[in-house]
Amino acid sequence: MNKTPTIVKLLLAFVLVVSVILIKQPPMATAEIAWQEAPTNLIHIDVTYDPGTKTYSLGGYSAEELRQVGAPEFQDEVWEVLGLLNNATLRIYDDVIDVFTDDQPLLSLTWDDSSRQILYTILDAYIELGDIDIERAEVWLDKADVEISLRKSKELSKPLDISLATLVQLQVNDKGALSVEGFPTGMELTPETLALINAANIGNLKLCWDKGVIDLQVNGQSLPRATLYQGGLGVIDKAFGLNLGDLSPIFGSRFGAGLVFGNADPVTGECVP
């Protein structure tokens, strides 16, 4: 009888100690939220070209690598024009479009919503792919930071720099046809794949890529975060003979896509790290 109260006291003391430890644990919900810059759709593409050999390098890929993936070749007239320039840069940011040639400003356009409406009308008239979704176009242009630079040089171009805050909207219709931002791509899912997706009741997917880190949501439900390592992908490349080539530009990029099947709810939100 004398020992029982001691055990009870010990138990109480233990509960007290654990309670103190629990109270001292920092609250998880109060994690500091880092200040983040306003998200932009940054696309910086560097192109180097050599009029002598009529070859070009784009986004860190050599002429040979581009040829392997079916990149188009320029006509002689284009090479003649390029041969006259040392460099040219097109930059779109905020409400301004700047064009520089040979390091000198060639033109600077300031545009607003109404002037863009005129552009959309012109594009709608001349592009046969379909009408431009003005709302989507404004979302893209509102956050645009685009720079395309052409340089006469034999050296390899700089790697692509892509960081997109806006989700690329993909849609698969009831017949399996895939469109990107409302424009048909001509690609289709096989009927078997489409039937599988429908039977599994998959309405939409959201994929975010952040320099090798993949976040995927299916019907709004998050799946485990996957991290692909560039060196590790080389192992898979060798094992399966995929011949993936240099993936450095992809592993330096951030982007996201929302894929909607049929009439499912659209994917919203951004891929802000």
């Binding site: 020992k3 233990f14 599988l196 998050s222």
Partner: protein, 143 residues
């Protein structure tokens, strides 16, 4: 108090004290010995294991929420999960399996028992939140 109850109470206190220490230390991951598994030439995994020249592939499960595949010294891929994302993955996998059955046999597929799913989720959550282990399987390619 009978001897049985006294022993039970003492055992409970010892377990609680040990877990209290484990908790106070920040619930560190307890490493378990690596399990070697030899892969003969001709098996599907053999070409993957030997592709890096290291001739071994290590699959590590950390029940605190990490699964990692390492070839030699090079990480290939890692997955970070929580009990919620794990449950979502199981749910998606099951739906795709049932969908495949439906599409291939033009029949009907049935879902697994809700009780079994709950048990799996409890086990995952237990080893995620309460006590954590690291278990690894070392795949060695035979010459």
């Amino acid at each position: 108090m009978s001897r049985f109850w006294r022993l039970l109470l003492i055992s409970l206190v010892i377990v609680l004290v040990l877990y209290g220490i484990y908790f106070a230390l920040g619930r560190p991951v307890i490493p378990l010995p690596s399990i070697p598994y030899k892969v003969s030439p001709g098996q599907p995994l053999h070409s993957i294991i030997t592709s890096n020249g290291a001739d071994q592939l290590k699959l590590t499960l950390n029940t605190a929420g990490d699964i990692e595949i390492v070839s030699g010294q090079q990480s290939v891929v890692s997955l970070n999960y929580t009990p919620e994302t794990f449950e979502n993955t199981l749910d998606l996998g099951e739906r795709l399996l049932i969908a495949r059955k439906i599409v291939q046999s033009d029949g009907d597929g049935s879902r697994s028992s809700p009780f079994l799913r709950k048990v799996i989720n409890w086990v995952i959550a237990y080893y995620y939140h309460v006590i954590r282990f690291r278990l690894s399987v070392l795949l060695i390619a035979l010459p």
